[in-house]
């Protein structure tokens, strides 16, 4: 059961530079656990310590944002294509609140 996963530039250090990897799982959570067994550390960049998907990481199954498919519980099928994109966000909002948001943000991707 193969699911194609497209990896963004900033996370390719976990995949040996590969832009596309394959994995398996019945849900997104299972898929990320499977990927982490071969690409250690990848899951930690996408999932918070509390076990939720990072707010500023976009994950898509085929053409759908997983936020509308149950997030980590999103169901996957053989042949699905999963795309990971770090949110493109920012702005002048540079105060204490920004630091609070950022602690949940793509800074976690580094």
């Amino acid at each position: 059961m193969a699911i194609e996963v497209r990896i963004p530039t900033i996370l390719r250090s976990y995949t040996g530079g590969a832009k596309v990897v394959e994995g398996s799982g019945d849900t997104l959570a299972d898929l990320l656990t499977d990927l982490d067994s071969r690409h250690a550390g990848l899951r930690g960049r996408l999932v918070t310590d509390a076990g939720a998907l990072h707010r500023f990481v976009n994950v898509y199954v085929n053409d759908e944002d997983v936020r509308f498919l149950g997030a980590l519980d999103a169901k996957l099928n053989d042949g699905d294509s999963v795309t990971i994109l770090p949110a493109v966000a920012g702005g002048a909002f540079g105060f204490a609140a920004a630091a609070a948001i950022a602690s949940h943000a793509v800074s976690a991707l580094r």
């Binding site: 702005g91 002048a92 580094r110």
Partner: protein, 162 residues
């Protein structure tokens, strides 16, 4: 150094002015590896905020797929600051997820002039770079009078030394 065509800069500034006082954001795509921005793609600011921008997640996917299909990459990622200088905020640095991109900032806080600056943001480190605005799309029939006027073909905005 970011080298970019004047027509693209004009379109970015027009976008920033149009959305002012909300922040505007977008991408300039270019061929993979060429470091040349060629295709301006204004994006929706899903946050519709004066102090924050965020690409709409579905538009983000569509545009990134399209770039992939065309062997392009995001050469420039731009946004506007509408009340502050064109320098990356802590928020901008936290969110910068495209280490290969030029992060272009436009400040529209002055009604008549724009501040345009470009940065690399890699691993949380901000490095300003000069912006070279190039008049590439000059009408060949206009070249003679254009040269006669001795208009400069390029304008270099140097870093301000921060």
């Amino acid at each position: 150094m970011l080298s970019i065509d004047r027509s693209i800069i004009d379109a970015i500034v027009a976008h920033a002015r149009r959305d002012h006082p909300d922040e505007a954001c977008g991408v300039v795509a270019g061929p993979v590896g060429a470091d040349t921005p060629t295709r301006h793609i204004p994006m929706d600011n899903a946050a519709r905020s004066m102090t924050f921008y965020e690409f709409d997640s579905m538009e983000h996917l569509r545009v990134w797929r399209e770039m992939d299909d065309r062997d392009e990459e995001p050469v420039v990622i731009y946004h506007s600051h509408t009340a502050t200088e064109a320098y990356p905020s802590r928020t901008d640095v936290s969110f910068a997820g495209e280490p290969g991109a030029h992060y272009l900032l436009v400040s529209t806080r002055e009604p008549d002039t724009e501040e345009i600056r470009s940065f690399r943001i890699v691993d949380g480190v901000v490095t300003e770079e000069p912006v070279e605005i190039v008049d590439a799309a000059v009408d060949p029939n206009a070249v003679q009078s254009y040269m006669f006027g001795q208009s400069p073909a390029t304008v270099d905005y140097e870093c301000s030394g921060r």
